[in-house]
């Protein structure tokens, strides 16, 4: 496929962003939980997308490329805001759902919100944004096994059981 010139590439990115803007907004919102910050992240992501147009090698992968920018921008935002190192959020085991163990009291939504962002993101991208495992791996810049591991772990915490379909690459 012949390389696109800069103007038509930018057109493509613009069309794509307008079409998928709600998806990117919702993803940003899942990180920051308020409208103003989510809007900031979307705007910032667009600026970044335009400045780093060269990094989009294949126009067909524009969706994963853009998701990646939104994820990174959201993480930057959280880092600046909280000033805590994201590493603290990586460790799933520190989470304590312990006190209320009764099934009836288990709030799935709350549990999802409380998942550390690395885990929540794979759930969102897989089940709400319908990305394939391989695509998620591209977005997060990890290998597919890592994505699967995180999905397994998330499901455990969310007390859901996986069926074969969930793990389709």
């Amino acid at each position: 496929m012949a390389p696109m010139n800069k103007d038509s590439l930018e057109e493509l990115i613009a069309e794509h962003a307008v079409q998928y803007k709600e998806h990117y907004y919702r993803l940003a919102y899942s990180y920051v939980r308020n409208a103003d910050d989510a809007l900031d992240i979307v705007q910032e992501s667009i600026y970044k997308a335009i400045s780093s147009m060269d990094s989009l090698k294949n126009p067909n992968s524009i969706r994963t490329w853009f998701y990646r920018i939104v994820v990174n921008t959201s993480l930057d935002f959280l880092r600046k805001r909280k000033k805590t190192s994201p590493a603290e959020e990586e460790v799933l085991t520190r989470l304590d759902f312990g006190r209320t163990d009764r099934y009836e009291d288990f709030d799935l939504k709350k549990a999802l919100d409380q998942l550390p962002e690395k885990y929540r993101t794979v759930v969102i991208l897989r089940f709400f944004e319908d990305l394939k495992i391989e695509e998620i791996a591209e977005v997060l810049d990890v290998n597919t096994n890592t994505v699967k591991t995180r999905l397994y772990a998330s499901f455990e915490k969310l007390r859901l059981t996986l069926n074969e379909n969930s793990m389709e690459v």
């Binding site: 709600e22 919702r26 409208a35 979307v42 600026y47």
Partner: protein
């Protein structure tokens, strides 16, 4: 059934309320960035090409004069045709709709024999001002649609700063009043005799002018503040609340006065708080004399 639970979660996720501004914001972000990039690209392209040819032009002329008395004598015998170069208002866009006001005057330079230069400049003026007008109209429509109770104003025009036999300096201003107003200046300085566009880098032998001029400006800022504490600049020694001024950019706004003095200009908010407006500094010629290519323009 947990498939239902997951589906319910998905439903809730998809029900995240989307603010009205999202669409406007996304489209505007692309519009703004494109305009910014386009402006920069266009200006650089044109200046880039012209600057190269100017440096060569001036270089050769200077060498010729110094090297050969015969050449100098020949030059003086050539009659200098005085062409009448003028700046006129080519077009004016006005909008007056309640709280939305725009007044955009498009300048046009007439009388240059170098039609390439003349057309390039005039097309640039027309293009940029037309875009100003279109952006204004679009923003006005958007504001009306979103029922935001606001006012908007754009006032753009030009001033002829210098008009001597040798030099024409035209300043163009854009005053935007949305919220707190901002003023942006652009300048074009032309050698009327040679009919070329003079750029800041083309005046100097090398790029040491950036540092030399920057240091002088910092001195002037500090001195002005010492004399009058109400004159505040964002610079080390006066006020560093905001990123202090370090260096001018290689193509910083400038113009040349009728007396042949170099003046550098900064937009509102560029190096000082808004109330200071557009700030200018005249650079003393003696600190530049070593690095000026010639004393043709700057005396």
């Amino acid at each position: 059934m947990e498939r239902n639970s997951l589906d319910r979660l998905k439903e809730e996720y998809l029900e995240t309320p989307i603010p009205e501004e999202l669409d406007f914001l996304v489209r505007k972000a692309f519009k703004d960035r494109r305009a910014y990039k386009m402006k920069r690209n266009n200006i650089w392209k044109k200046i880039g090409v012209t600057a190269a040819s100017i440096v060569v032009c001036v270089g050769i002329l200077t060498a010729g004069i110094n090297g050969s008395p015969a050449f100098a004598a020949t030059l003086s015998k050539v009659p200098v045709l005085k062409s009448i170069v003028r700046v006129l208002t080519f077009r004016e866009y006005t909008v007056k709709e309640g709280k939305y006001k725009a007044d955009i005057k498009v300048p046009s330079i007439q009388g240059l024999k170098n039609k390439d230069l003349e057309n390039t400049l005039n097309e640039k003026y027309l293009e940029e001002n037309k875009k100003l007008y279109e952006d204004f109209m679009a923003d006005m429509e958007d504001m009306k649609k979103s029922n935001t109770d606001g006012h908007m104003g754009v006032d753009s025009g030009y001033t002829v700063l210098t008009d001597t036999d040798k030099i024409l300096s035209v300043a163009r201003y854009v005053v935007n009043t949305v919220g707190s107003s901002s003023t942006v200046m652009k300048y074009d300085t032309i050698d009327k005799e040679k009919e070329i566009l003079i750029t800041l880098p083309s005046l100097f032998k090398d790029d040491s002018y950036v540092d030399i001029i920057s240091e002088n400006i910092k001195e002037q800022m500090i001195a002005q503040n010492k004399a009058d504490e109400n004159k505040i600049y964002w610079v080390e020694g006066v006020n560093t609340d905001f990123e202090p001024f370090q260096k001018i950019s290689a193509d910083q706004n400038f113009y040349i006065t009728a007396e042949g003095k170099l003046v550098l200009s900064f937009d509102k908010y560029e190096v000082a708080p808004g109330y200071m407006g557009t700030v200018e500094f005249e650079i003393p010629t003696d600190i530049l004399s070593e690095i000026l290519v010639s004393d043709e323009y700057i005396k």
